[in-house]
Amino acid sequence: MAILLVAEHDNATLSDQTNKALTAASQIGGDVDVLVAGKGAQAVADAAAKLAGVRKVLVADADELAERLAEPTAALIVSLAGGYDAIVAPATTTGKNVLPRVAALLDVMQISEITEVVSADTFKRPIYAGNAIQTVQSSDAKKVITVRTASFSAAGEGGSASIETVAAAANPGVSTFVENKLSESDRPELTSAKIIISGGRALGSSEKFEEVIVPIADKLGAAIGASRAAVDAGYAPNDWQVGQTGKVVAPELYIAVGISGAIQHLAGMKDSKVIVAINKDEEAPIFQVADYGLVGDLFTILPELEKAV
């Protein structure tokens, strides 16, 4: 059995979501090769080669792979698929964009966002915003799988895999990259942060978000998240959204501030180790999942908290 794991990276650094998906791939069993599709991503390949349990690293270098556009990236993976029994990627926006395309081209029903490997063909995955967990068995000869990385620990280093170059597939040429508008931040990423503080609609404006959430995040070295309501209202950027249709996180500590706790939000954070909720409504559903609840006005509590930590 051989597995192709598609690396998540930005051409410069390997994302630790790859390490987590590697853990899932190793549990499926067999040799794991890591594919680095990109442009000038040698450093990423070097980092992937050091991961424990990797057989070899395949590097494809092409202009159209620089931003991992779906059409050429899927074509590349399909060109390599013959040698593999399973194709695995972390369920990042890139993985979600590319892998279903690969699955359809291989006539395979993808298994999305697995949270547990039961056996080589059987997996657990959440449905209905995590309100039910399905165990599914695939009858496809090849498996195409995305991994919910919050459910797996990161594979460590200690490997010394060989690195090989593979040719990019013919570019379908139907799409072009225009630009990235990425949030610049020195803070940890949501998906790898140990502490996350998230703000909801109650923050009321992006200025207030900045004024009361950011100082605590800085002090705790925390990543910042948000509810959909806060993102929709423009208080926070879209990539901060935690939830069913945003990011799924499982930090050591999750602090929900002025967030009611709709199921769609809980879907993204209820596997956090310790949950704190700060809300002025003592009936807010968020308190049903919180280890520590503090009832009160966030605008008085947060400045106090900032001083106390």
Binding site: R101, A103, A129, N131, A132, S175, D239, Q264, D291
Partner: protein
């Protein structure tokens, strides 16, 4: 130009889901059903393109049981022109949906298909990408902005690090994210008018698609629960609790 919008009938997002005690699935009897919220956004986007004079006709299609006709009627009441129900009584997987939609696309010849990024029941996030692959088209997924011009579309995508802008050639697939637009409600007169709009019924056999699932659901269970903890009285108690828990 013609736009196709696939809409799925799902359990309403406000319903508290209950898992059947025998592990065979989720309780669907007497549960409120609605159009998948991302598909409402897709219908709205198509209507705005029509209002802007860039689109002539909006065809909505749903694959599902007879009741999925209600979901189509909702889209017609919002402002779509015509509906197609591909009647399938069993659960259909995204790969099957994509194959059926390919058949509909070949029959209808749209230049653009707008789907939701994700159905909130299966949370699969696959169908649009699969349809795009099967047709050999371009894809602009998780869209928060779509600008149509001659022969191409510029799509702003919500990605993990922020936003990404791509230019995709038509014909193309777009899947919607939450920030694309705010869907309208259908007015009562429009709901009445929608009853007279054409709605065709087809079967999977009409498109020569085998609907047998590839995934066998062995079990459906409740997620591991989480109990409510304690209420702390003030910030000092919170901080000392977090310190003793070793998380700060």
């Amino acid at each position: 130009m013609k736009v196709l919008v696939p809409v799925k009938r799902v359990v309403d997002y406000n319903v508290k889901i209950r898992v059947k005690s025998d592990g065979s699935g989720v309780e669907l009897a007497n549960v409120k059903m609605s159009m998948n919220p991302f598909d409402e956004i897709a219908v709205e986007e198509a209507i705005r393109l029509k209002e802007a004079g860039k689109v002539e006709e909006i065809v909505v299609v749903s694959i599902g049981p007879a009741q999925a006709a209600e979901t189509i009627r909702t889209a017609l009441a919002m402002g779509a022109d015509r509906g197609i129900l591909v009647k399938v009584d069993d659960v259909v997987e995204p790969l099957t949906v994509a194959k059926l939609l390919k058949g509909v696309v070949e029959a209808e010849g749209p230049q653009l298909v707008i789907l939701g990024k994700q159905a909130i029941d299966d949370d699969a996030n696959q169908t649009g990408q699969m349809l795009s692959a099967l047709l050999g088209w371009s894809q602009g997924t998780f869209a928060s902005k779509v600008e149509l011009s001659d022969g191409s579309a510029q799509v702003t995508r919500e990605v993990d690090g922020g936003l990404q802008v791509v230019d995709i050639k038509l014909p193309a697939i777009v899947t919607t994210d939450l920030r694309l637009n705010q869907p309208r409600y259908a007015s009562l007169p429009n709901i009445m008018k929608a009853k007279k709009k054409p709605l065709d019924e087809k079967s999977a056999a009409d498109y020569g698609v085998d609907v047998a699932p590839r995934l066998k659901v062995l079990k459906t269970e409740e997620p591991g629960g989480r109990k409510a903890g304690v209420k702390v009285k003030d910030v000092a108690e919170l901080v000392s609790s977090l310190k003793s828990a070793g998380v700060i």
